[in-house]
C-alpha cells in the first residue's frame, strides 16, 4: 500500500480555503466526542445496559466527522450505523445516541428502534437508516431531486460501506442519481471488512471508486484517517454538487478497528493490519497535525477533553435515569393519521414554474447518435483522451477510435470532443423549458471532469498502477481489460492467494 504515515498530500489538492482555528478545533472536538461517547457505550454494554448489538466506529471517526463537517445545515444526510460522528456534527446531542442504544422512552424513536436508527426531518435533515444496506442511496437521490425541484439548492449525502456497495440498491440508486444528475454525494467508506469478509473477496476492482466510471459520475479517493483531507474532498464535492455538476462518489480508505459488533472479536483480521492502522489512528494523527501546525497547545487540548467529559457525564446520566417505554406504546404510530403531521413542501422557487402552462412543452427524444459500435467512445477511450491526450493512451495502448465499415462519426456532431461537451439538455426538444439536465448516462460527457484529477481514470493509486497494462493489442473492440486487477489480489493484506472470483457478501446484519 502506498499510503504513508501522517497527513497525506491529499489536502494540497483540495480547493477549499483554509479552515479557521475554531473549525480545526471543532474537528478534533467531534472526533474525540465520537470516540469518548462510544468508549462509554462499550462500558455500558459490558454492564448490560445496552440493548442488542453495539457497532463500533473506532478508527473511522475522521470519516464521519470530516464528511459531515463539509455539509451545511440545509443539506441532508443519511448515516449508516457507524456514522455516529456525523450525527454529532449535525447537532444531535449525545443523549440521543445513549438513549437509542439503551432503548429508552426518551430516545428519538422512543424505544421503537435502536442504535443510530433515527432521523430528524424538520430541523437537522437526517434520514434514518434501515439495516438493509444500500437502500439509502435511492432514498437520498430522491431527497436531492426533491431539493432541486423545490429550488432549495441542497445537497444530499449518504455513506455506504465496502460491503454495502455490492447490493442491488447501491447500483439502482447510483444509476438513477447519475441519470438525473442529482446533487447527491456518496461516501464509500471502505473499512476493509464487510463483517468478516475482506474487500478483496468482495470486489474485483482495485479501488471501489473505480466503479464511479461505470455510472458516468466523478469520484475521488481519499485517506479516511486524515480528517482534513476527508473534509476538503467532501467540501469540494459539496460545492461542485451544489453548482449542478451531478453526483460525486468519494471513496475513503480506512479501517474498522473492532469486530462487526461487540460480540465479534475479529480474529479473522491479520494482526499486522490492525498494527498498521493503529499507528495511523485518525485522532492521533490529527493531534500531531494540530501540534505541528501550532493550531493548539496542551492547554487547549485538555480544555476540550475536559469539556467532552463534562458533557458526556450529563448526557449519560440523563440516559441512564430515563424510563423504558410503556408497553402499550408499541401500538402507537403505525399510520400518519389526521392531524398527526402537516406535510408541506418548502418552496424556494415559484410554483408556477412547474405548473401548466409554463411546464408544458412538446416532448420527444432527440438522439445524439445511432448507438453504433465505434461511434461512441468507450470509457477507456475517454480516459485516453485525458489531460494531455496521449499519456493514458501510451500506457494502455488503446487503439485509435475508428473502425472501418462503421457509420461516419460526424453523424450528428463532427468531432468527439464536441459531442462530449454537448450539454445533456440538448438531448430533449429545444422547446423544453429549463429543467434538470438528464444525460443518457454513457459515461462522463463533461470535458472538465474528464480532464480533472478527480477522474479516477486519470489517477494511478497505489496497488494496481496504471490501468489497462494488460490490454491486449490486436483486439481493438475489447477496450476493457480483464486482467488488470490481479495484482491487488496478490497483495491482499493477509498475504494469501485469494481466488479471483468476485464475492458478493455484503455487510448486512
Amino acid at each position: 500500500m502506498a499510503t504513508k504515515a501522517g497527513i497525506t498530500s491529499e489536502r494540497e489538492r483540495g480547493m477549499t480555503e483554509p479552515l479557521k482555528r475554531e473549525q480545526y478545533l471543532d474537528l478534533y472536538y467531534y472526533m474525540q466526542l465520537n470516540r469518548q461517547l462510544e468508549d462509554r457505550m462499550v462500558r455500558l454494554f459490558r454492564q448490560n445496559k445496552i440493548v442488542g448489538g453495539l457497532y463500533s466506529s473506532l478508527g473511522q471517526e475522521a470519516v464521519s466527522v470530516g464528511t459531515c463537517y463539509a455539509v451545511e445545515k440545509r443539506d441532508w444526510i443519511a448515516p449508516m450505523i457507524r456514522n455516529i460522528g456525523a450525527l454529532l456534527v449535525k447537532g444531535v446531542p449525545p443523549r440521543d445516541i445513549f438513549t437509542q442504544h439503551m432503548a429508552k422512552y426518551t430516545s428519538p424513536t422512543k424505544g421503537k428502534d435502536g442504535t443510530s436508527h433515527f432521523g430528524d426531518l424538520k430541523v437537522r435533515h437526517i434520514v434514518s437508516p434501515i439495516s438493509m444496506l444500500g437502500d439509502l442511496i435511492p432514498v437520498m437521490t430522491g431527497v436531492a431531486m426533491a431539493g432541486r425541484y423545490l429550488g432549495q439548492n441542497i445537497v444530499a449525502l449518504t455513506w455506504i460501506g465496502d460491503g454495502g456497495s455490492s447490493t442491488g440498491a447501491f447500483h439502482e440508486g447510483l444509476g438513477l442519481a447519475a441519470a438525473q444528475k442529482a446533487p447527491f454525494i456518496l461516501i464509500v467508506e471502505n473499512n476493509q471488512w464487510a463483517y468478516s469478509t475482506p474487500v478483496s473477496r468482495q470486489v474485483p476492482v482495485k479501488n471501489l471508486a473505480d466503479r464511479a466510471v461505470a455510472y458516468g459520475i466523478s469520484s475521488t479517493i481519499v485517506d479516511g484517517n486524515d480528517v482534513v483531507a476527508v473534509y476538503n474532498a467532501t467540501k469540494k464535492a459539496v460545492t461542485e454538487c451544489r453548482g449542478g455538476r451531478g453526483p460525486h462518489l468519494i471513496e475513503v480508505k480506512t479501517m474498522r478497528m473492532r469486530g462487526h459488533a461487540q460480540h465479534d472479536p475479529a480474529e479473522y483480521v491479520p494482526k499486522e493490519m490492525f498494527e498498521y492502522w493503529k499507528a495511523r489512528d485518525p485522532i492521533l494523527l490529527y493531534e500531531k497535525y494540530l501540534t505541528e501546525n501550532k493550531i493548539w497547545d496542551e492547554t487547549t487540548k485538555s480544555e476540550i477533553d475536559a469539556r467532552i467529559e463534562r458533557e458526556l457525564d450529563v448526557e449519560q446520566k440523563f440516559a441512564e435515569d430515563s424510563p423504558m417505554p410503556p408497553p402499550e406504546f408499541a401500538e402507537v404510530g403505525v399510520y400518519c393519521e389526521d392531524g398527526c403531521h402537516k406535510i408541506e413542501a418548502e418552496w424556494k422557487r415559484a410554483k408556477a414554474d412547474v405548473m401548466p402552462p409554463k411546464s408544458s412543452f412538446n416532448p420527444g427524444w432527440k438522439m445524439q447518435d445511432l448507438g453504433a459500435l465505434g461511434e461512441i467512445p468507450t470509457a477507456k477511450e475517454v480516459a485516453a483522451e485525458g489531460p494531455n491526450g496521449t499519456s493514458a493512451a501510451k500506457s494502455n495502448g488503446a487503439p485509435a477510435r475508428s473502425t472501418p465499415g462503421l457509420p461516419p462519426q460526424n453523424f450528428v456532431n463532427a468531432a468527439p470532443p464536441q459531442r462530449q461537451s454537448t450539454p445533456p439538455t440538448a438531448q430533449t426538444e429545444a422547446t423544453e423549458p429549463a429543467e434538470p439536465r438528464i444525460p443518457f448516462g454513457r459515461g462522463p460527457k463533461d470535458k472538465a471532469f474528464r480532464e480533472s484529477p478527480d477522474n479516477p481514470q486519470n489517477k494511478s493509486y497505489g496497488r494496481g498502477g496504471a490501468q489497462g497494462k494488460t490490454f491486449r493489442k490486436g483486439h481493438p473492440e475489447k477496450t476493457f481489460n480483464k486482467g488488470g486487477q490481479n495484482k491487488s489480489f496478490a497483495k491482499n493484506p493477509a498475504g494469501k492467494n485469494f481466488s479471483k472470483g468476485p464475492q458478493d457478501k455484503s455487510g448486512r446484519r
Partner: protein
C-alpha cells in the same frame, strides 16, 4: 369475467379515470409528481400517463431506468421534503423487485422515526388477459400483511378515480392496484367536480337477505353476475365490494354477516394466505354466533398464474364456481 356497467354518453374507462385523477391532482398541487418507467414520452405501458409529460414537464414526470428499488427509494426521499410522488410499477408484479423499499423502508418510517411517507405505488395487476405468470399477479396480500401500508383495489372507474385522489392526499404509503382486465372493459360517468372516496370504506353493491358475497376488483363483477344468476333460483345474495383491503372495513363486513348469516368470499388471489382467511377469522371472532353455515371461499388455485388460456381459465374463479359455492351455502 364480464362487467355489468352499461356505458353512457360521457362515460370513461378505468384507464381514463385513473389518468384524470392524476392530472387533476397534479393541477391542484405542485407537490404531486409522477415517477416510473416509460411514463413520459411513451405515456406508460397502458397509457395511463399519456400526455402527462407534455403538460407537466420533465421535472414532474420523471422517467427512470428499469430500477424499481430506485423508483420507490427516490419517492420516499422526495416525500421527506413534502412532495407526494405517484410511482408507477409497469406491471404490479415488478413490485417484488422493490419489496425491501416498500416493506422495510416506506412502511416502517412513520412508526419508527415519525417520518410520514406520503407516496402512492400504483400499477396494473390481475389476470384474465393471458399475461402469464409474471404479468398477471395479485400480490396484494404481501402488503396487506405489512403494517404501515394501505392497500386499495378498486373495481369501477369512479371508485378508481375517487380512491386514487384520496391515496395521493393520504399521508401514508398507499398501494393502488389497478386490475388490467377492467382497464378498458367498462365505462362509467364520473361524478361532478373534485370528488374523493374515503379509504377503508367498502361498498354494498347489491343488497340481499340470504347470504353475503364479499369480493373486490375484477371478482366484484363476477360476484355481481353470480348474484344475478342466484336471484333466478330464488337466492337473494348481498354483494360487498371491499375497494380498500387495508385498512379492512370490518364494520360493513360484520353488519352484512349479521343480516344474512352466511358468508362467501371470492378473490382472484391464490387461496392459501388470501384475504378470505383473514375475513373468515374476523367474522369468527366477532360474529360467530350469527353464522348459520360454514364460511365458504372461491379463489384462484394455489399455483402461479399459468399462461395458456385453458390453464388460466381453470386457475381463475368464475361466475359458475361462485354460483355453485353459493348454492351449497344457501342450503344450510
Amino acid at each position: 369475467m364480464a362487467t355489468t356497467a352499461i356505458p353512457k354518453p360521457g362515460a370513461i374507462t378505468m384507464v381514463e379515470a385513473i389518468r384524470q385523477a392524476m392530472f387533476e391532482e397534479m393541477e391542484r398541487d405542485a407537490s404531486v409528481v409522477a415517477i416510473g418507467e416509460d411514463i413520459g414520452v411513451y405515456g406508460g405501458a397502458f397509457k395511463v400517463t399519456d400526455g402527462m409529460l407534455a403538460k407537466f414537464g420533465r421535472e414532474r414526470v420523471i422517467e427512470t431506468p428499469i430500477a424499481e428499488t430506485a423508483i420507490i427509494g427516490a419517492a420516499c426521499g422526495m416525500s421527506f421534503l413534502g412532495l407526494r410522488p405517484v410511482c408507477e410499477m409497469q406491471f404490479i408484479d415488478f413490485i417484488a423487485c422493490c419489496f425491501n423499499q416498500v416493506t422495510n423502508f416506506a412502511a416502517k418510517s412513520h412508526y419508527l422515526w415519525d417520518a410520514p411517507v406520503p407516496i402512492v405505488i400504483r400499477g396494473p395487476s390481475g389476470g384474465g388477459v393471458h399475461g402469464g405468470p409474471f404479468h398477471s399477479a395479485n400480490p396484494e396480500m404481501y402488503f396487506m400483511h405489512t403494517p404501515g401500508l394501505k392497500v386499495i383495489y378498486p373495481s369501477t372507474p369512479s371508485d378508481a378515480k375517487g380512491l386514487l385522489k384520496s391515496a395521493i392526499r393520504d399521508n401514508n404509503p398507499v398501494l393502488f392496484f389497478e386490475h388490467k382486465y377492467l382497464y378498458r372493459r367498462l365505462k362509467e360517468e364520473m361524478p361532478e367536480g373534485d370528488y374523493t372516496i374515503p379509504i377503508g370504506k367498502a361498498a354494498v353493491r347489491r343488497e340481499g337477505r340470504d347470504l353475503t358475497i364479499i369480493s373486490y376488483a375484477a371478482m366484484a363483477h363476477t360476484a355481481m353476475e353470480a348474484a344475478v344468476e342466484l336471484a333466478k333460483e330464488g337466492v337473494d345474495a348481498e354483494v360487498i365490494d371491499l375497494r380498500t383491503l387495508l385498512p379492512l372495513d370490518k364494520e360493513t363486513i360484520l353488519a352484512s354477516v349479521r343480516k344474512t348469516n352466511k358468508l362467501l368470499i371470492v378473490h382472484e388471489d391464490t387461496r392459501t394466505g388470501g384475504i378470505a382467511g383473514e375475513i373468515a377469522a374476523v367474522v369468527c371472532e366477532d360474529a360467530f354466533e350469527d353464522l348459520d353455515g360454514p364460511i365458504e371461499r372461491v379463489t384462484a388455485l394455489d399455483t402461479p398464474v399459468p399462461y395458456s388460456p385453458p390453464l388460466e381459465e381453470h386457475f381463475l374463479p368464475n361466475t359458475a364456481k361462485v354460483v355453485a359455492a353459493a348454492r351449497k351455502l344457501a342450503k344450510y
